[in-house]
Subunit: 228 residues, 2 copies
């Protein structure tokens, strides 16, 4: 790993940098994050690295195993379902609130996000596109002026990125942008009802595009995996 070592990295910056790497699928689930390795890469001591890892662990992006180290989390099928269950409780109603208080400036921000995502996709940067696609959802919570829900949604989106890395099935990537376009129309019309409904089905679509039948449970899978 190589980083520009003239910079002084704070705990939050290290955590954000690692999170971004995870969300862009540059760090796949299960990757070991050695403390010395990271400390050297960022040119800081393990103290900061540990604090950053603890922060990410609290967001469930990283799993800390005592005396073993930190690993990029590998959400189970159950956890994947739970994450989308939580999202389905929070996001549709939040999209409604957002639609109802949407301003021109907000619309511009959302549109810029979609445009950037298109640019990234055209450039073949699918990781960056996925990151932006998630930011779209977080932005909606911000527009609804619900900082608390925004924090939850942000965490759920991050975890969703891991889930997608593990369980994504469909290779056709165009469904995403279509749904966001449809939401934009509802937002522009300040149509809360429609926004709520669209978000609801968008989330259902997302779950449907995952392969959650898989019996890839890390803990209990061994005997089943061997079929005996």
């Amino acid at each position: 790993m190589n980083k520009i070592d003239t910079r002084i990295w704070t705990t939050e910056e290290v955590a954000a940098d690692l999170e971004r790497a995870v969300l862009e699928h540059r760090l796949p689930p299960g990757t070991k994050l050695g403390e010395d390795e990271l400390a050297e890469a960022y040119g800081i001591s393990r103290t900061i690295v540990r604090a950053a890892l603890q922060a990410l662990a609290h967001k469930r992006l990283v799993e800390l195993r005592r005396n073993r180290g930190a690993f990029i989390a590998q959400p189970s099928v159950r956890e994947a379902r739970e994450v989308f269950e939580a999202r389905s409780l929070l996001e549709p109603r939040t999209a409604r609130s957002a639609a109802e208080r949407m301003t021109g400036a907000d619309l511009a921000i959302l549109q810029a996000n979609i445009d950037e995502e298109h640019t990234a996709l055209d450039a073949g940067e699918s990781g960056k596109a996925l990151l932006l696609s998630g930011q779209f959802h977080v932005e909606i919570a911000r527009i609804a002026h619900q900082a608390t829900i925004e924090a939850f949604v942000s965490e759920l989106i991050s975890r969703s990125s891991l889930i997608i890395a593990l369980y994504w099935r469909r290779r056709a990537a165009l469904c995403e942008t279509q749904a966001h376009h449809a939401l934009m129309k509802a937002f522009t019309a300040q149509d809360g009802d429609t926004a709520e409904q669209l978000m609801k089905s968008h989330l259902l679509d997302l779950v449907a595009s995952l392969d959650l039948r898989a019996v890839t449970e890390p803990a209990t899978s061994l005997r089943e995996a061997l079929g005996r």
Copy 2:
């Protein structure tokens, strides 16, 4: 502060112990949590204390001000509204799920919780009663088999405890237990519809019993608090 210093405290245990103190209103909002002070009290080094404080900060129970130290959080009026908005999105639907998959063992646990709360109230331990009252809500999320939502609800309950400490108005404390009793009946009947509705109005009751008109924003409060 005095603790039994024969015990070896882990980070999680220290965090849990502090959280319990906050939830029981033994540590009021705004209290400074000095690192040396805590380290000595638990008989550990500042390393562990800092990790525990960071964990609590992530749950928004503690506010970390750079180079200033850690303080028990003082949720603003806005934050209070946001917390109950989030709860109103998560808890009613979760109560429905819980009701539908409620077992006899689950009912027993919930009933035991209510009984303990009564005992605590009779013994004048209002802090412990409040803690148990919160645990009732978390237990419901656990019964619904939604660990992710459970974690969110747990955080929201903890923050609600701070909010109650700051903005509680009604002194009559019996409304709480009544609502929980009503929920128990719906759970016993495995009546999801009723459980969802009861939880919804229970949360509305809670907000209604707070005084959120207050202009008690920490920053601007000093002059007003002195009335001049």
